[in-house]
Symmetry: C2
DNA sequence: CGTTTTTGTGAACGCGTGTTTATAAAGCTA
DNA sequence: TAGCTTTATAAACACGCGTTCACAAAAACG
C-alpha cells in the first residue's frame, strides 16, 4: 500500500498561503476572499488533494459513517428482505454523504462477536448504528444506548415514553392483522388461524396481539387449536405446519402467517400432505417478499415498504447524529393488503 | 452523540505510568515487565478503555477496513448472488479482524458516484477495496490501481502478466462450458445454442469463447443463428429469448444460458410461447442460483461456490494489505455441473 | 487625519495514539 | 567497586487537520 499522499501543508506551500487558509477554503469559511479561495482551489484540484479522513475525525469532525448490524441466527445472508433493507440503507446514507460499515452477527450469544460490535462504537469508527433483526431489548444494544451512542433499531417493543438515543422503526402489525382478518371475514372465513413468529422478536407478540384484537373486533371465535407456534423462517413455517398436520388437527379455513417465508414453508408442508392452497386452506402472509408474486399460488400478503422504511430510519439517524432532530418518537410503517391467489371465498350453503 | 470517552493519558495517570507504557502494553511490546503490564491492563479493563481508531490510524496504523463496491446498472439490491458474496466478504473480513465499508454504485457513468468512490480511497478510509460487477478495465478502478491502492476485482480479463495491486478472481468459464457441452453431447444433443451475457463484462466474451472451444472440441457445428445476444439479468434473458421466438427462428435442441437468472427469464419467454423445458428445449444455466433448485423445472446448472471465492479473495486482499503476500497471479474458481431437470436426452431415430 | 471597525491570515494549540530517543536504574563482568 | 550492558520508563516528536487567537492591513467613520 502506498504511503499517504499529498497533505494540506504541501497545498499551502504550493498556493503560497498558510495551512489555516487551506483549511478555511476546504471548510467553506466566509472570511476568505474569492481570489485567494480560487488560488487554493486551483492547487487542490491540480494535485487531486483530498483531506485525510482520520485526521479530520481526530480534529473533531464526525466520521460520517454509520454501522449496519444484521443480527441473525442463520441465514441473513440468504434473506432477500434483509438485503433489500441493506441496499436501501447504503443508498440513503450515501445520498446523505454517509458511509456504511456493515457487519453480520450470526449469534448474539457469541460473546466475541458482541464485544467486537461494541468496540466498533467505542473505537469511534462510527457516529451511530442501525440494528436489524435484534431481539427485544437486546442487552448489549441497550448498553450502547445507555453509553450515549446513537442507535436505530428495527422492530422493538416500546416502553411508552421515548428513550434518548434510541430511534425505533416498527411495523404496524395491528393494522396489518386488522386488514388481514377484515379481508378474510369479507370472503366469508370464520375459522381463522394464525402461525406465529418468533416471540422474542417484537413482531412475534405484536402480530399475535393484533390478530387477537382483530378477531375480537369482527366477533370471531379464537380457537387456541388454530394458533400455531413458529418462527420467522421458511423452515420454521414448514416444521410448524408439518407438526400440526401430522397431529391430525382440524384445519381452519384460513390462516395468517407470521410472514411470507413462513407461508412458503407452510404451503410446502401442506402440499406434501396433499393439501392445496387456497382450495383446502386460504393463506395470507406478511411482508410481500419479492418471491410472493411468483410462487404458485401467488401469495396474498400484507406488503411492507422496506426500502422506504429504512430510508426514513437512516435519514432520522443521520439527523440525530447531526443534531438536527431531537425527538425520539418511534415511527411505524403501514401494511398494504396485496390480493393475489392464496385466498378463496367461502360459499355458505 | 456523547463526547469521546476515556483516553490513554487518563489510563496512564490512573495506572501511575506514562502514556508510552500504556501504548506498549496495548501493542504487546516485549519490553514491559509482567507486573507493570498487569497493572495497566487492570485499569484498562476497569474503565473499559478502547483506543480511538482515528488516532491509531493517524499515528500510522492501518484502518483495518476494506471497501466493498457493488457495481450494477439496476438491481444489485435484489440480486441474491451479489448478496451471497457480500455476506461472505463481510464475514471473512470480520474473522481477519477487518471492517467492511459497503457501497453501491448504480451506474458507473454517474461521475459523482465514481468520484465519491475514489474519494473513499484518497481519504484513506480503507486499506483496499473489492469490486463486484465491474466492467472490464473500468477506468476509475485502473486509476486507483495505478495510484497504488490495493484492489480486488471479480471477473476481469487478464493481460498476461500479473499487475501490481490488482488481485483478480475469475470464473473458469472455459471449463464450465466444456462441462456443459460435454454433458449435452452425451445426452445426444447436436444442435446446441448459447444465450450470451453482457459482452462488457469479462464473463461475457469468456463464456462465448469457452462455448466455441467446447463445441469445436466435440466436433459440433456452431450455427450463428443459435447464438443469441443478451445480458446477465433475468429481464435480458426474457427479452432475448422472446425476440428470438418472435422471429420464428428454428429452436436448437439445447441452449446454454449466460447464467441462471438469464435462464429463468428465457424459460419464462418459452412458456409464454407455449414451449416447455426440457421437452422443447434443454437448458443449462450458470452459477447455481439459490432459486435454481426450486423452480419448475429445477435448473441444471454449473455451480460456482461464491462464498468460497469471496473468502479467498478477501483473505488474499488482506494478506496483500499486510504485506504478507506479494504475488498478483489471478485465481479462478471451478464450475461444478449440477444435474437437475432442465435437460432431456435426445433419442435418435 | 485620527480612530474605530472590518477583513484577512498566520502562528499556535489540540485531537489521541504510535514510536523513537534519551535517561535512569538495575544487573552484570572482571 | 569501577565500568559496562541490559532493562524499564518517561519525555518528545510525529501523524494531518480544525479552530481559536492575535495581529496586521484595509476600510469605514467622524
Amino acid at each position: 500500500m502506498k504511503k499517504t499522499g499529498i497533505d494540506s501543508v504541501e497545498i499551502a506551500r504550493l498556493a503560497g498561503v498558510s495551512r489555516s487558509t487551506v483549511s478555511r477554503v476546504i471548510n467553506n469559511y466566509s472570511n476568505v476572499p474569492p481570489e485567494t479561495r480560487e488560488k487554493v482551489m486551483q492547487v487542490i484540484r491540480q494535485y487531486n488533494y483530498v483531506p485525510n479522513a482520520s485526521a479530520q475525525v481526530l480534529a473533531g469532525k464526525r466520521t460520517r459513517t454509520i454501522g449496519l448490524f444484521m443480527i441473525e441466527a442463520g441465514h441473513v445472508s440468504a434473506d432477500i428482505l434483509t438485503n433489500l433493507m441493506l441496499a436501501s440503507i447504503i443508498e440513503n446514507a450515501s445520498t446523505l454523504g454517509y458511509y456504511v460499515l456493515t457487519r453480520i452477527i450470526r449469534n448474539t450469544r457469541d460473546e466475541d462477536a458482541v464485544r467486537s460490535v461494541k468496540e466498533i462504537f467505542y473505537q469511534r469508527r462510527i457516529d451511530g448504528g442501525i440494528f436489524i433483526g435484534a431481539a427485544n431489548r437486546e442487552p448489549f444494544i441497550e448498553e450502547l444506548v445507555a453509553e450515549g451512542f446513537m442507535v436505530g433499531i428495527v422492530d422493538q417493543e416500546l416502553s411508552g415514553n421515548a428513550e434518548p438515543n434510541r430511534i425505533v422503526a416498527n411495523f404496524d402489525n395491528h393494522g396489518g392483522m386488522r386488514l388481514a382478518v377484515e379481508y378474510l371475514h369479507k370472503l366469508g372465513h370464520r375459522r381463522i388461524g394464525v402461525l406465529n413468529g418468533d416471540m422474542n422478536r417484537c413482531s412475534g407478540p405484536s402480530k399475535y396481539e393484533g390478530f387477537l384484537a382483530a378477531m375480537r373486533h369482527y366477533g370471531l371465535e379464537i380457537d387456541p387449536q388454530r394458533v400455531l407456534p413458529g418462527g420467522f423462517s421458511e423452515e420454521s413455517g414448514y416444521q410448524s405446519m408439518s407438526r400440526f398436520l401430522d397431529e391430525g388437527m382440524p384445519l381452519p379455513s384460513a390462516m395468517i402467517m407470521a410472514n411470507d417465508s413462513v407461508a412458503f414453508g407452510a404451503i410446502r408442508a401442506l402440499q406434501e400432505h396433499g393439501l392445496q392452497v387456497p382450495r383446502d386452506l386460504s393463506v395470507i402472509g406478511f411482508d410481500d417478499h419479492p418471491l410472493s408474486s411468483r410462487t404458485h399460488p401467488a401469495l396474498t400478503t400484507l406488503k411492507v415498504d422496506f426500502a422506504d422504511m429504512m430510508g426514513t430510519l437512516t435519514a432520522s439517524l443521520v439527523r440525530h447524529i447531526e443534531g438536527e432532530e431531537t425527538g425520539y418518537a418511534p415511527f411505524s410503517v403501514r401494511n398494504d393488503l396485496i390480493v393475489r391467489d392464496s385466498c378463496r371465498p367461502i360459499i355458505f350453503s
